[in-house]
Symmetry: C2
Subunit: 214 residues, 2 copies
Amino acid sequence: MDKHKFSEAEITGVYRAIAERRDMRHFIKQKIPADTLARLLNAAHQAGSVGLMQPWRFIRITDLPLRKQIHHLIDEERQLTANALGERQNDFMKLKVEGVLECAELLVVALPNHREQHIFGRRTLPEMDIASTACAIQNIWLAARAEGLGMGWVSLFDPKKLGALLNMPEGSLAIAILCLGHVEEFYKKSMLELENWATGKSLDAFLSENTWKD
Amino acid sequence: MDKHKFSEAEITGVYRAIAERRDMRHFIKQKIPADTLARLLNAAHQAGSVGLMQPWRFIRITDLPLRKQIHHLIDEERQLTANALGERQNDFMKLKVEGVLECAELLVVALPNHREQHIFGRRTLPEMDIASTACAIQNIWLAARAEGLGMGWVSLFDPKKLGALLNMPEGSLAIAILCLGHVEEFYKKSMLELENWATGKSLDAFLSENTWKD
């Protein structure tokens, strides 16, 4: 029963996008056509969501002064994170953690207010709203990679300050600043590995059968 | 600069997987080959994660009595959710919300303990761990769809009870029970829409420029 299976090339496309997706922080100056951006946003919106609550908002940042203010917020949090990291502070400050000023398109993704009205699938796991929105963002990431575009997900910011900047209501929560754009090269592996910040473990370490494995 | 763009068929594959992915609750009895399951888990593990923390664990459920206990937990929560829904209680109880006993493979996905050690990208947004793991799950969902397999993400359970059943340590959190398997048909749209439980809104309602839109 393989009638639902995609063609070999289509399957390859899906696995390639998954394997070659990178969290990009280096972009080159080239615009993204409006129809490409529309496809990416549409891909996000096709994500499933718990109880069909569609817990996402996408705010496109086109105003340059606003973009600079957002960059400033990230830079503030970057310093606070460095302080919190203690002895790794200096290594951290050497990392490029965002491409907000260079990327072609900047999007803020947020959870809306009034999420407490949604009970289906969230009574014991209210976090499912962020999970659904993360799936939507992963859709953008993979579709962008297939289109040859890079994306970076920046979470180094104070959501209250970003909320104030974007007139977000009480109860909403920004979870992502997305940088989208053309890139010179995709990193061969995670930039944090290339920069020797962290080393990924192989899948085996995370798999077990019928019970937890330490 | 389109040198990073995939082939047309590969791009189609990515967008098809995104568009045709469904939260499945109906499965047919047919096994998933071991190499297919391995590809899906590998796809999950290729997700990005905040600070490369890889905040995921995958527990494959192969023990039938354990599978039945997990099903029982979901059924308990189903009744509690129905009670919490008030006047929609009866409509809710008519919905098929999971395919735990019928699916070919059952996976529990969880966040590990000791996540508080990871500060990078999480100082102000600790929820980024669940976001990264949701991206990993979305990878399985899309790769499964390309392979012709359905997946359902069940979040109707008490994570404490599931944790006890799987000997999960304090500080860890199960966020998903994933049902994977062959399906007779993929739903034409969200099953919750087909069953008139909810109506999705179009993308326009969720988009704005430079500021929040109510």
